[in-house]
């Protein structure tokens, strides 16, 4: 059947669209029928997720923390998790279903995904331990940071960066060095110096944030 200006490509079949069109929107569009409870989610999570994300979704080593950080977004070091930061539960369902576990994506069933997401909610103290998440009640879950986002406002908030009055000479009386990367010394350099443990480097970074020359 001819189509378009060039008649190139062919019609996509419903089965093909169903196989690839997996995205889930904040209004629930794209959510398949199914359900899962917290306790089932805990079992699946321990088996398939906890090796990186911890038994309680608190994160291991340098791997992402999925729980915690409530109320820290304005802190010096915010902890951004599903509970503390993510605006929509749809994103958690969609991302887990499509791209997790890391290294074995697209192996979770629909019901397993509901269960894992229920467990992540529980780990963030957002539901009780007998909670059952399904496509029916999905939109009832309130995400704490749902209102935490604004659309890019740089053209207003940073309007003063558009200017025609740049200073070219005698712009300051003095210039002092206030921070040096060499003091921090976390740049990969020589063989024997490479491979610092992430945790160690994080400590050094934290130290450097307050350190001045």
């Amino acid at each position: 059947e001819p189509h378009g200006n060039y008649n190139l490509g062919r019609m996509a079949l419903p089965e093909e669209i169903a196989a690839w069109n997996l995205d889930v929107s904040p209004d629930g569009t794209g959510l398949p029928e199914g359900s899962g409870d917290v306790l089932t989610g805990e079992e699946v999570f321990i088996e398939k997720c906890a090796v990186c994300h911890g038994d309680f979704a608190e994160g291991r080593g340098n791997w992402p923390k999925l729980a915690g950080g409530d109320g820290t977004l304005a802190d010096k070091d915010p902890l951004k998790t599903v509970g503390s930061y993510w605006p929509y539960l749809s994103t958690a369902w969609d991302y887990v279903h499509r791209s997790m576990p890391f290294g074995a994506a697209q192996t979770l069933s629909v019901d397993e995904t509901y269960a894992i997401v229920a467990y992540i909610l529980y780990s963030n103290y957002l539901v009780e331990d007998d909670f059952v998440l399904s496509n029916e009640n999905f939109l009832e879950v309130e995400m704490p940071n749902a209102d935490g986002f604004i659309v890019d406002d740089r053209e207003e908030a940073e309007a003063h960066f558009w200017r025609d009055d740049v200073c070219m000479s005698d712009c300051k009386d003095s210039v002092e060095i206030t921070m040096r990367a060499a003091v921090l010394d976390v740049t990969p350099e020589e063989e024997e110096e490479a491979g610092a443990e992430p945790a160690e480097a994080e400590t050094e970074m934290a130290a450097a944030e307050t350190g001045e020359v």
Partner: protein
């Protein structure tokens, strides 16, 4: 990984070794002054002036000469939990001009660089279209093509520098960027092939784009951008995309953050609302000091950096003529001007653009000076055609705080010491 094996090429130790070998800073490396003694490289017949070089069959596809083996991508292990969902850095300190050699152009993957052959490649267009379509790679090559040069800058480029001077080298502070000449088909052409009548009013419509890899890297893009200048590209710098850059097909989203340049592009869905995927909620949102976060910060603002001298590219020739050079770019249009200071911003001189700025592409600038051997605090300041002037880090922090992670386009300072070594610093 590369950083484990390779030195920085111009690390402090290598620098000092080089200076000693050349007889100190005054008689810098590479000097060929006749101090009475004739230069044997001239007076004696060298091997290469007498015997054979390699035959034309030696290298069907060549790599750079071995003396340039420090001009490579490097990673920083502590930045990410593993090397699969990670980043490496373009050696911008060692490059010139504007075109990035593909072989050392930075990589950013979320589930590794996948191998997807043309025969296995499929592109689906679905959603609010008249006819959902599937294209093969061969189909794509039959649409009318365009060529454009654009920079691709990771949203996180310079992100480690928000809280202070962290990494010592332009490669690490500014190397999540490459600039290539792309050949491909306008996304508009493909969307029109599927038909947009079903979408109704296009002003409030979106597309959702995703890759064939496990991470999918799905992102939402407003329809007006999709119909404006987005390219479905299959060639870069004249040849097929590299595997790690999306072979055989990637999205090119001029001026916008690199995350949206979806690699191994497999699907474009026309939608009436954004998906608000992981890559536009959890990631690629910019947290402000009060704890609220900006989303959909797509444009990469005007930015520049001096690539030489810089920590990995120290001055080894002593006082006298010195070429200060660097890169400038803007996601909002063409670079119109770059100012350079050698005294930390007290006084500025307009640098020379190697050629007129091109929209949403890298520009090369030069400032030739006569260096007197005293220390310098080098900075560059870009201006783009919208009148935007690159801000200082203090100006950015004033609006955003220190936890934005992304979109750090601040003015960079290199402290060039009397020895010619340079260091990443912040100044008052």
């Amino acid at each position: 990984m590369t950083a484990d094996k390779k030195s920085n090429g111009a690390s402090r130790r290598a620098f000092l070794k080089g200076a000693v070998a050349a007889g100190g800073a005054v008689a810098g490396a590479g000097m060929a002054r006749a101090a009475g003694e004739p230069d044997p490289l001239i007076t004696e017949v060298q091997e290469w002036a007498s015997g054979f070089g390699e035959g034309v069959d030696a290298t069907p596809y060549g790599l750079p000469i071995r003396f340039e083996d420090d001009v490579v991508r490097r990673n920083v292990e502590w930045l990410t939990a593993d090397t699969i969902s990670s980043i490496n850095f373009t050696p911008i300190h060692a490059l010139d001009g504007t075109i990035t050699p593909q072989g050392c152009a930075f990589e950013r993957h979320h589930s590794g660089a996948i191998e997807l052959k043309k025969e296995d490649y499929r592109l689906m267009i679905n959603g609010l279209v008249d006819k959902p379509l599937v294209f093969t790679y061969a189909d794509l090559e039959r649409f009318p093509r365009e060529n454009h040069v654009y920079f691709c800058e990771c949203a996180a480029n310079t992100g480690m520098e928000w809280a202070g001077a962290q990494l010592n080298g332009a490669q690490f502070t500014h190397g999540m960027i490459h600039n290539m000449e792309y050949s491909g088909v306008p996304l508009r052409t493909l969307l029109e092939e599927a038909g947009l009548d079903a979408a109704g009013d296009l002003a409030d419509k979106w597309i959702y784009v995703e890759g064939a890899d496990a991470s999918s890297n799905g992102r939402s893009i407003p329809m007006d951008k999709a119909l404006d200048d987005v390219l479905v590209a299959f060639k870069a710098n004249g040849e097929a995309l590299r595997k790690e850059h999306g072979y055989p097909v990637r999205l090119v989203v001029p001026g916008w953050e690199g995350n949206m340049w979806v690699k191994w592009l497999r699907r474009v869905e026309v939608m009436d609302a954004p998906v608000q995927s992981r890559e536009e909620t959890s990631k690629y949102t910019d947290t402000l000091a009060d704890g609220t976060s900006r989303k959909w910060t797509w444009e990469m603002d005007a930015k520049s950096v001096v690539t030489s001298p810089s920590p990995q590219s120290p001055i080894t020739h002593g006082p006298g003529p010195l070429v200060i050079t660097g890169l400038a770019w803007s996601g909002r249009g063409a670079i119109t001007r770059v100012d350079v200071t050698t005294d930390g911003g007290k006084n500025w001189t307009q640098a020379r653009l190697a050629k007129d700025g091109e929209s949403k592409a890298l520009s090369r600038f030069y400032l030739e000076i006569d260096w007197d051997g005293s220390e310098m605090l080098l900075q560059s300041r870009a201006h783009d055609e919208t009148g935007y002037v690159q801000p200082t880090k203090a100006q950015l922090r004033e609006v955003r705080g220190e936890n934005s992670i992304y979109h750090n386009n601040c003015i960079q300072t290199w402290w060039v010491k009397e020895s010619g070594e340079a260091e990443n610093v912040e100044v008052s």
